[in-house]
């Protein structure tokens, strides 16, 4: 096991695109078909950071709007969080932020990056640009598209750069 491997978890409501984001990040693939995740799927990829190469072990956890005891068990040992929301469903943004608050009870303060996904459907977005501008004051926010790949790499890299050495 690599010493620089770090566990990160994707948290977010169902259907926001967590699995698609991982597929884009790890395998550079995308599927239009929505297949719900049951339990958890773990992937990994090495990324370059300012502190050197780092292996990200990515936990893609089934979508929920709150962490139950199973999800709390899943996130144990995580060094960072990717909070994922769907720009076309504003309620998922609230879920992502609530999940971050809940995760603190297990993890304490860990680095987190917010991904507001489905940028390719910006005409359908319910999340207002002013909301994102406001959120940027408290945590890094990336508007992403797993479909086109826009800003996916940057979002993962941002979290990788913020993980403890």
């Amino acid at each position: 096991m690599s010493e620089v491997a770090r566990k990160i978890c994707l948290l977010g409501d169902f259907g926001v695109g967590k699995t698609s984001l991982v597929a884009r990040f790890v395998r550079n693939t995308f599927s239009d078909k929505y297949l719900t995740t049951v339990g958890v799927k773990v992937d990994s990829r090495e990324v370059a950071t300012a502190a050197g190469p780092r292996k990200l072990v990515v936990w893609d956890i089934a979508g929920k709007n709150a962490l139950d005891s199973v999800s709390q068990a899943y996130i144990r040992g995580a060094s960072g969080l990717l909070l994922v929301a769907d720009g076309t469903r504003e309620a998922t943004l609230r879920s992502a932020l609530y999940l971050q608050v809940q995760a603190r009870t297990t993890l304490g303060e860990v680095p987190a990056v917010l991904l507001v996904n489905k940028l390719d459907r910006v005409d359908d977005w319910e999340v207002k640009p002013a909301t994102i501008a406001e959120l940027r004051k408290t945590l890094p926010v990336f508007e992403t598209s797993a479909r086109t790949g826009d800003h996916v790499e940057a979002a993962f890299a941002e979290l990788a750069g913020r993980l403890p050495a």
């Binding site: 096991m1 491997a5 770090r6 566990k7 169902f14 259907g15 929505y34 297949l35 719900t36 049951v38 339990g39 958890v40 799927k41 773990v42 990994s44 072990v57 089934a62 979508g63 199973v70 068990a73 899943y74 144990r76 040992g77 995580a78 060094s79 076309t88 469903r89 940028l119 390719d120 910006v122 005409d123 359908d124 977005w125 207002k128 640009p129 002013a130 994102i132 501008a133 940027r136 926010v141 508007e143 086109t148 826009d150």
Partner: protein, 501 residues
Amino acid sequence: MSAAIPPLVAAYLRDILVQAASPMVLTFGPGFALRGAAGDSTRIGVEPGAAAEALRELFTGMPLDEATVLPFVELPGGRHVHVHLLPDGALFHLLLLDASGEVAKARPVQQRAHDAEIAGHEKSRALRRLKQARAELEAQRRALLEANTLKDALIATLSHEFRSPLTAVFGHVHLLEKGGESAEGRALALRSIRRAATHLLALSDNLLAWARDAAGAGVPPEAVPIDAARILAEVRDLFGGAAEDLGITFEARAEVTGEPPLGDPLRLRQMLINLVGNALRHAAARRIEARITANHGAVEISVGDDGKGIAADAQARIFEPFNLGAARGVRGTGLGLAIVRRLAREMGGEASVESAPGQGATFRVVLPRQVAPDPAAPPPPRPQRGGRALLADDDPAQRTLLRMLLQELGYAVYEVGNANDAVAYAAAHAPDLAVIDARMPGLSGNTAVYRLRSQGFTGRIVAVAGDPTPVAREAALAAGADAVCPRPVDSIAFADAVLGG
């Protein structure tokens, strides 16, 4: 009372359960070194070596000296297992129990629930848009119907209003050309011609005034000293003969207290002409009085008559254009009173009417005191022009056109051909203005607009949209654009969009 299960039965039961679970157990030592494997790897579908590698990754960051259960973990190859970590002194065991059967049952149920909720959300959004589109279409339909009604009313009234006086003019000219008329007859013919010409002049003035305003080409009102008596004299010259022919007593009075008021003489004159012309044509009056009252700068114009009066419901609509407020069969273009109200409002005032059936009518225009412009005062602020503009459009020809228009407005223009470059440039240089093609290949213009706003860009954003539908316009505005300019780009509309006009 319960007794302990006999050891033989317990052992038998354990064998059954173990056989049913087909567990796979991997035992690890310090450093996650694989020490042994037991059980059935075929059911899990992963060889012990590959499973060990996946499990090392799975437990990254997690304590290995605490009993842990991780249910429904998807292994490479797609099978699901429940993973149980069991510490055992310096060793630990990872027990893998096949969960594929449970997943096969749970997934379709979960999938249906999620699909239904997402579909419900999409349906709500579609219904909202449909409702909005329907409302917009209905508004457009009403506007078109109204425009068509106005057009029909205008054509009908114009054909009558222009032909009647022209018929009179040609008739009297014909008689004069034939000769043989007495001096009194010639004077009568000339008065009739003059009356018809005056009416035609008023009609054409009103039509031109209305057309100028519709085209947005009106000039702002003046604020110069007004000679009330002179304006009234001009109106009397215009209408005195007609009033006399109709047997109407026409009086005109000016009452000025203090300095001559300031105002726009041409507009005052036009309002009076329209009001007096209206009274002459429609009031069936014996007496009409036009009055200008000025009291220390404030001006009131009134035209009163003792005619048939106006019903209350007609009063509410009488200032609407094209006879919409008039009774059927009433003559006139229906522009005169509408223009009076518009001119009054241009000068900060208002027009009104007081009347009752059978008791005449008094039209009033009340104008506030005007202040002469101070030649020493600084000019009013002009719309901000110039500065640095970002122009994003994938079509070089369109970029060239927009660049030229922006340069005419005084902007230094930086051009990019895609949305990502636009966002990057704006983040680095914070231009005063961003003009973004709403539909660019790849990351769309609306996406660029959204990202500019979400990154705190506060400059003006104009989206240029090839799609003229209200939905497309709403999408651009929702993304954060301040204005949307449709293609093909009209230079005036573009300047308005850029300058916020």
